[in-house]
């Protein structure tokens, strides 16, 4: 990728790569033998009156695991429920994995047809697992009203082109989506954030267009929100607190498609990057095991290779090829064991490269010393841990190859855990 240039006195600019010209439509993957839906609720809570192994489901059918409003998945395959398992997700989150084994024939569910009035209730009840994972939760908090919706046409990470594709080829869906979003949420101020070089006539789309720099990390939501709001978001404030809310371009396109076709979409557009760095777009059913994609593309994995969900700067690597495609899986990146960037045990030598590059103006050289020593509170108080955008640039440039980004995520995670424990004990003592 971008290696250090010969002339080192200027800071390197990390550019988002534009989509190659020959890409037009994502290649559809053949129908999988089984899919696994990850539903955000602990496996212990599953209500077996609602769902049981052996149940038959149709494609597009809503599978509720409990009576709670969010605990559902949308079947992306017609067949039989063959397993309901605990699934430990990232950052300690608990999921339930619902596996569907394919039946011979593909039948479509029509429950959504009756509920396809564009209302907030319908959208929240059926679309949360659509490709792009639109979330309608922010609109349910009356004391923190949303006044601006940002449609994110920027890919979150380098090499990814899912959003670029959506902008370039699914503009009609986006346009419809924007129309339905207004109806669903009642918010009139909608901003579409696009890369600078994607600036060609969109015509009247019902949203204002904001062009972003094509330099990483300008596509991170916080930077987009700041540009839209024309001010910095104070640390500790959420987007919700600031009255903004994000939808990815693909999520908006899904909303548009769902309400116009009266059918919930379940084909996810994925940027697939192979070990040689060739990028292609695929369209796969949500829940498809990654193994199926590898098989179709005839990828052979070696010992110690890496599969990364998301892009190279912010993605998560996974330990199993059975991991399914999720509604927010924009990219799958394969990395050869030979290309893996090693981290090291060296201390920070204070070269300052990270400080020069950090978009959040954090003194990373000092911060990292506190994180290494495990002084998370000091790091947060004195060295602006909370300002971090989690872009990963500091780790990317670090001369000592310190896993700074990992330290940062760990520290935030720990601080969050401590804080929630504290509130829990406080509540307990209050009662």
């Amino acid at each position: 990728m971008i290696k250090r240039s010969f002339f080192g006195f200027t800071t390197p600019r990390i550019q988002y790569l534009p989509m190659p010209g020959q890409v037009t439509t994502p290649a559809p993957l053949k129908r999988p033998d089984n899919v696994t839906l990850l539903v955000p609720c602990p496996a212990g809570d599953v209500d077996d009156k609602l769902v049981q192994i052996g149940d038959h489901v149709k494609s597009g059918q809503k599978i509720s695991l409990t009576s709670a409003p969010g605990a559902y998945g949308i079947a992306s395959l017609s067949g039989t429920l063959s397993a309901i398992d605990r699934f430990p997700g990232e950052a300690g989150r608990e999921y339930t994995a619902v596996t569907i084994t394919a039946a011979e024939a593909e039948t479509l569910d029509n429950a959504f047809e009756d509920r396809s009035e564009p209302t907030l209730e319908n959208a929240a009840a059926f679309l949360a697992c659509a490709p792009g994972a639109p979330s309608f939760e922010p609109f349910t908090e009356p004391d923190k009203p949303i006044h601006t919706i940002i449609v994110n046409g920027m890919d979150q990470d380098l090499l990814v082109m899912t959003a670029q594709y959506t902008l370039a080829f699914r503009m009609a869906d986006i346009q419809a989506g924007i129309k339905f979003l207004k109806a669903v949420t009642g918010v009139e101020n909608i901003v579409l954030a696009t890369p600078r070089d994607a600036m060609h006539g969109y015509g009247e789309i019902g949203a204002s267009v904001m062009t972003m720099d094509a330099t990483y990390p300008s596509g991170l939501p916080k930077l987009i929100a700041q540009k839209v709001l024309e001010k910095e978001i104070p640390n500790g404030k959420s987007f919700q607190d600031m009255g903004v809310c994000f939808f990815t371009a693909e999520a908006v396109a899904s909303i548009g498609r769902a309400f116009s076709d009266r059918q919930i979409p379940f084909e996810k557009t994925i940027t697939f990057i192979d070990k040689q760095g060739n990028r292609s777009l695929i369209s796969a059913r949500i829940g498809t095991p990654i193994a199926d994609i590898l098989k179709e593309y005839q990828v052979s994995l070696e010992e110690k290779d890496r599969i990364i969900i998301g892009g190279p700067m912010t993605g998560h690597s996974i330990f199993s090829t059975q991991y399914p495609v999720q509604p927010f899986t924009d990219a799958i990146l394969l990395q050869d064991h030979g290309d893996i960037a090693l981290t090291s045990d060296y201390p920070c030598i204070n070269c300052g490269d990270c400080v020069r590059m950090c978009p959040a103006r954090i003194q990373v050289n000092l911060l990292v010393r506190f994180l290494e020593a495990g002084f998370y509170e000091e790091a947060a108080e004195a060295y602006d841990l909370s300002a971090c955008l989690e872009c990963g640039i500091c780790s990317y440039v670090c001369v000592s190859k310190i896993p700074i980004f990992q330290y940062i995520r760990l520290a935030k995670h720990e601080l969050g855990r401590v804080a929630s424990e504290e509130t829990a004990t406080e509540e307990a003592t209050d009662e």
Binding site: M1, I2, K3, F6, F7, G8, F9, T10, E232, I233, P234, N235, K237, L301, E302, E303, K304, D305, R306, I307, G310, P312, M313, T314, G315, H316, S317, F319, S320, Q322, Y323, L333, H337, I340, A341, L342, P347, C348, I349, N350, C351, R356, P359, R361, I362, Q363, L366, D384, S386, A387, G392, S395, Y396, V397, C398, V399, K401, P403, F405, Q406
Partner: protein
């Protein structure tokens, strides 16, 4: 969820820009070579080669011994010990006796670097620290006039700064800046060849291995302070160019003040840091007790570095 092949699970980012500590140290060593080879070894001959070899080898040896003693991974291979040994040798006279060199590398590696936790932990530049300690103990070796007996060159071999200190400005009229630039002066093994040091410095700045703000601010500090002194009394205080091209000024600006771990990384602190170093250097030379103030001046700015670090830009979204 079993998999046949063992995949690597690690953390983002999954790319790296490709820089590294070993590479960095090697490039600094390359940058030092013109001044060392053409200015030092060529001019001062076999004894200088001896000092350099002894210094580099013993520095690496101390590093290895300390790695072993502290039961840490062996870090000799990263080149930092070699670099420290090399820079130390460049500041020593060619006539330095073997025990002076060994004591010097001991102080630099063990006291200056390893007991602070190795690379990156030192709050003071190990080379400057070592030379300062040697200078306090064995002053005579650092007025470089002890070398007079061993060489018979076609230029003036008396150490310019010592001449300035002892005889004032009238004593230094015999010297010319072009001689200094060509390395036709007395001084540390690698500190005499002005053009070589400028080339090395330019290389380091261009490649981004040092932060140019520090070097430039340091040289500007030297220049302005020397000029002010010179303007108040030209018969007592030498002109700024003399100060820039003699003694340790250039090697200090490019190779000592810029040492990573003991210098600031933000723009304004770097300027203050460099300028304060230049100011102290000239103060010591003009009104202080020592002949050349560079190494002590660098220790002084190392000392204020933690305070300078408190001057920093407001982080994004910081609430005050």
């Amino acid at each position: 969820m079993n998999s046949q092949k063992k995949l690597i699970v690690s953390h983002a980012p999954f790319l790296h820009i490709g820089s590294g500590i070993t590479e960095r140290n090697l490039h600094i060593i390359y940058a030092a070579l013109p001044a060392l080879l053409l200015g030092g070894l060529f001019r001062f001959g076999i004894p200088a080669i001896g000092v350099v070899c002894l210094s580099v080898s013993t520095a690496m040896l101390w590093e290895l011994l300390m790695n072993r003693a502290m039961k840490r991974p062996v870090s000799v291979g990263d080149g930092n010990a070699a670099l420290i040994g090399l820079l130390l040798a460049m500041l020593l006279p060619a006539t330095a006796p073997w025990w002076l060199v060994i004591t010097g590398t001991f102080v630099a590696i063990v006291i200056g670097k390893q007991i602070f936790g190795g690379i990156g932990g030192n709050a003071f530049n190990p080379v400057a620290l070592s030379v300062a300690i040697l200078m306090v103990s064995w002053k005579d070796y650092f007025d470089f006039n002890g070398m007079l007996m061993n060489y018979d060159p076609d230029f003036i071999m008396a150490y310019p700064l010592a001449t300035l200190k002892n005889f004032g400005v009238s004593g230094i009229e015999q010297y010319s800046i072009s001689d200094f630039l060509l390395g036709r002066q007395s001084g540390g093994i690698g500190a005499t060849f002005g053009i070589g040091l400028l080339l090395g410095g330019a290389y380091l700045i261009m490649r981004g291995f040092i932060r140019w703000e520090i070097s430039i601010a340091y040289l500007a500090g030297v220049f302005v302070t020397a000029l002010l002194f010179n303007l108040t009394d030209p018969t007592r205080y030498a002109d700024p160019f003399f100060h820039i091209f003699t003694g340790y000024t250039l090697i200090g600006a490019f190779f000592l003040a810029t040492e990573d771990s003991s210098s600031p990384v933000n723009f304004i602190p770097m300027l203050i840091y460099g300028a304060a170093g230049g100011l102290m250097t000239i103060l010591i030379r003009n009104i202080g007790a020592y002949i050349d103030g560079t190494v002590l001046a660098i220790l002084v700015i190392n000392l204020i570095n933690p305070l300078l670090d408190k001057i920093r830009p407001k982080a994004m979204g910081k609430v005050v």
